[in-house]
């Protein structure tokens, strides 16, 4: 009798184990997804192909810059978030294809495409070893996406088995600057 109970118990245990595996086994996309590298604001983080350090976050309602010989001003219904950072290729030349602003609610905002030609825009030029670039990532986000945001930086938009740097940004949505001139921004 006890033998029958033992067999039944083993069967139930196996069924539970299989159900658990089916429920919790990560999918292919998750297994081959980005490899997060989390770090502090102001800390230099070394990923597989580049290093990054975020130094400053600024908010503005309007941005002004000079591109292709003329003055340009952009405004927004939300807020412009500027992250001043330092990037360097390591160990080989690389292009940073993705900078994303992730809100505390999980919404993702890619770097704005409205600033082509602006000075010192990060991600526009290829990075070289030994030649660090200091510049700015610009995001256009709703005000409610500011508090508790995280900066994500990776070599491609959807990194697969590759580094994705994640830096929690110390920024509050109160009192964004009315206008910031990108040409006069202190990058150093």
């Amino acid at each position: 009798m006890s033998g029958a109970f033992a067999k039944l118990g083993a069967l139930v245990l196996a069924a539970m184990l299989l159900a658990g595996m089916q429920r919790y086994t990560p999918g292919y996309a998750e297994i081959t997804g980005p490899i997060p590298l989390r770090g502090e604001f102001g800390e230099t983080l070394a990923g597989r192909g580049f290093t990054v350090r975020a130094d400053k976050v600024l908010l503005a309602r309007k941005l002004r810059f000079k591109a292709y010989g003329r003055e340009v001003e952009r405004d927004t219904g939300g807020v412009f978030a500027l992250v001043i950072a330092r990037l360097e290729a390591q160990p080989a030349s690389i292009t940073i294809g993705s900078a994303t602003w992730r809100s505390a609610q999980g919404a993702r905002f890619v770097a704005s495409a409205r600033f082509q030609g602006a000075p010192r825009l990060l991600g526009a030029d290829r990075l070289e070893p030994g030649l660090p670039q200091r510049g700015v990532f610009i995001f256009e986000v709703p005000r409610e996406a500011v508090d508790g945001a995280t900066l994500l930086v990776a070599a491609s938009r959807w990194p697969r088995l590759d580094t994705q740097v994640e830096i929690a940004l110390p920024v509050k949505p109160d009192a964004p600057a009315l206008v910031i001139d990108l040409s006069e921004l202190a990058y150093e």
């Binding site: 390591q90 080989a92 030349s93 070289e128 070893p129 030994g130």
Partner: protein, 187 residues
């Protein structure tokens, strides 16, 4: 419940089956992944061949020779502008025409710089380059030359100042991998 008597033949078969299991698993793994393994093997730079200064070496359907690597200028922020000149004599046009070409400068600590676009003013200041259009490595491969053709190839690089003399050209081609060439710079 009593155990039935197991014949010695059956025990032997069980042992053989047990020993065959790892072989079957290995075979299954090979059949499933050999294409990926081959792809990995053909995409990696695993074996460097050192090419002494002034000599040519065969790779990817051509004989390759380093003609020169020189510093041709300096940008306002101190970065050095370098120009690399190579010569290729095509032996196997089909193998030669497979893109892309990886021609980089490598430092002894493993750092690698890919070619960059140089402004015409940076290149045209060299008297022998004025009015000339010399193809890059990828352009040369894409031109699909005939066997026996001799091609001049040039690439520009931007490096940190002071790296002059500390870097060596490295050439890797799809049909040559996992082998690649590391050229010794003359002088």
């Amino acid at each position: 419940m009593s155990e039935a008597a197991i014949s010695p033949g059956a025990i032997r078969m069980r042992r053989i089956s047990l020993w065959m299991l790892p072989l079957a698993l290995a075979l299954g793994l090979f059949l499933q992944s050999h294409e990926n393994a081959w792809e990995w093997w053909r995409s990696r730079e695993l074996f460097a061949r050192q090419v002494p200064a002034g000599t040519a070496a065969s790779l990817g359907g051509a004989e390759w020779k380093l003609v020169g690597l020189r510093r041709v200028g300096e940008r306002s922020d101190g970065r050095a502008v370098m120009l690399l000149d190579m010569e290729a004599v095509v032996r196997d046009p089909e193998a030669f025409a497979v893109l892309p070409c990886r021609l980089v400068l490598e430092a002894s600590d493993g750092r690698r710089w890919s070619p960059q676009f140089l402004t015409p003013s940076e290149v045209n200041r060299l008297p022998e380059r004025r009015g000339q259009t010399i193809p890059t490595c990828t352009q040369a491969l894409a031109s699909k030359p005939q066997a026996g053709a001799m091609l001049r190839i040039s690439e520009g690089f931007v490096l940190p100042g002071g790296m002059n003399g500390q870097v060596r050209p490295v050439l890797s081609l799809p049909t040559g991998r996992p082998h690649y060439l590391r050229f010794e710079v003359p002088g």
